[in-house]
């Protein structure tokens, strides 16, 4: 089973990297970009026996820092 975990900064948490990317896009001449937030994507290949609860626990215990980040789990069809 393929699982994608999308981790993003919570709203309100300063994202200097997103801001730098935003400035760079503007420098390239792209207009109309209102905001950029940088996140990260994990692609996990897990056994079918692994429960949803276990995947959720992986996110909370390691993949995301719950103080500053949110996560979203997406199961991908093989």
């Amino acid at each position: 089973m393929k699982v994608r975990v999308h981790v993003s900064l919570k709203p309100g948490v300063l994202d200097p990297q997103g801001r730098a990317i935003h400035h760079s896009l503007e420098g390239l001449g792209f207009a109309g970009v209102n905001d950029v937030r940088a996140g990260r994507l994990f692609e996990l290949d897990v056994a079918d026996s692994v429960s949803d609860e276990a995947i959720d626990e992986m996110c909370r215990k390691l993949l995301a820092n719950m103080v500053i980040e949110n996560y979203r789990i997406e199961k991908v069809a093989a």
């Binding site: 300063l14 200097p16 820092n65 103080v67 500053i68």
Partner: protein, 225 residues
């Protein structure tokens, strides 16, 4: 009574030797050196230091992998028993990632790695780690970090300030930290995390000795003057 301390080393730690030298110079006894894969700490520790560096290459998030290593389970348990724990720089990141301290360290607001001596204001000189200073005293200590921008939600920041848990503040613009926080204490007061490096300012050849007071505070508080 000898001061019985330990310095934890992770793969990628690079301030562990500086920390060990500082502890030995100020306390007169060399600390135990403990490896990340160990699951037990030496008996009867008075003080545990989690040093700076780039543990596990800063993979995932700074301090994240180290905070889940076997030795950190023992450090968390010792902190729970009241053993003083100091985390400096990457060590601070390890302590927030492990849940021993609130908040998180984000990328510096200016995006640059900041490596210079900065002015710090002592926020609370009543703590185990700061009693050799005066509240409001300004000291000069080096910083060297890329992710030192302290973040916590407003309610947590209010609580930290209200409870006197802001041990040190930047007295100048350094990294964008919320409320200029450079170092915070846990609620019991036995765990301190800070981005600046007191272990790099303990003898005149370092260019200053303002960091020495932190170690003197802890040693005096724990084994008597």
């Amino acid at each position: 009574m000898a001061f019985n301390s330990a310095v934890i080393t992770f793969p990628g730690s690079n301030c562990d030797r500086d920390m060990a030298v500082a502890l030995e110079k100020v306390a007169g006894t060399a600390p135990h050196r403990v490896w990340h894969g160990d699951s037990e700490l030496p008996d009867g520790l008075d003080f545990i230091a989690v040093p700076g560096g780039f543990s596990y290459g800063d993979y995932l998030r700074c301090g994240a992998i180290a905070s889940r290593s076997p030795i950190m389970q023992a450090v968390i348990a010792a902190a729970g028993r009241g053993v003083p724990v100091l985390g400096v720089c990457n060590g601070f990141q390890v302590l927030t990632e492990s849940g021993l301290l609130p908040g998180a360290l984000l990328r510096n607001a200016g995006l640059n790695f900041v490596c210079r001596e900065v002015s710090l204001e002592v926020g609370n000189a009543q703590s185990l780690f700061t009693s050799a200073y005066e509240t409001g005293q300004v000291i000069r200590v080096p910083v060297a970090h890329h992710d030192g921008n302290y973040f916590a939600d407003e309610a947590t920041l209010d609580r930290l300030e209200g409870e006197g848990r802001v041990a040190f503040r930047y007295a100048e613009d350094v990294n964008g930290s919320a409320r200029s926080i450079a170092g915070v204490l846990n609620d019991a007061g036995n765990v301190l995390g800070m981005m600046p490096h007191p272990e790099r300012a303990i003898e005149a050849t370092h260019g200053g000795t303002d960091g020495r007071g932190l170690f003197e505070s802890a040693i005096r508080g724990l084994v008597g003057a």
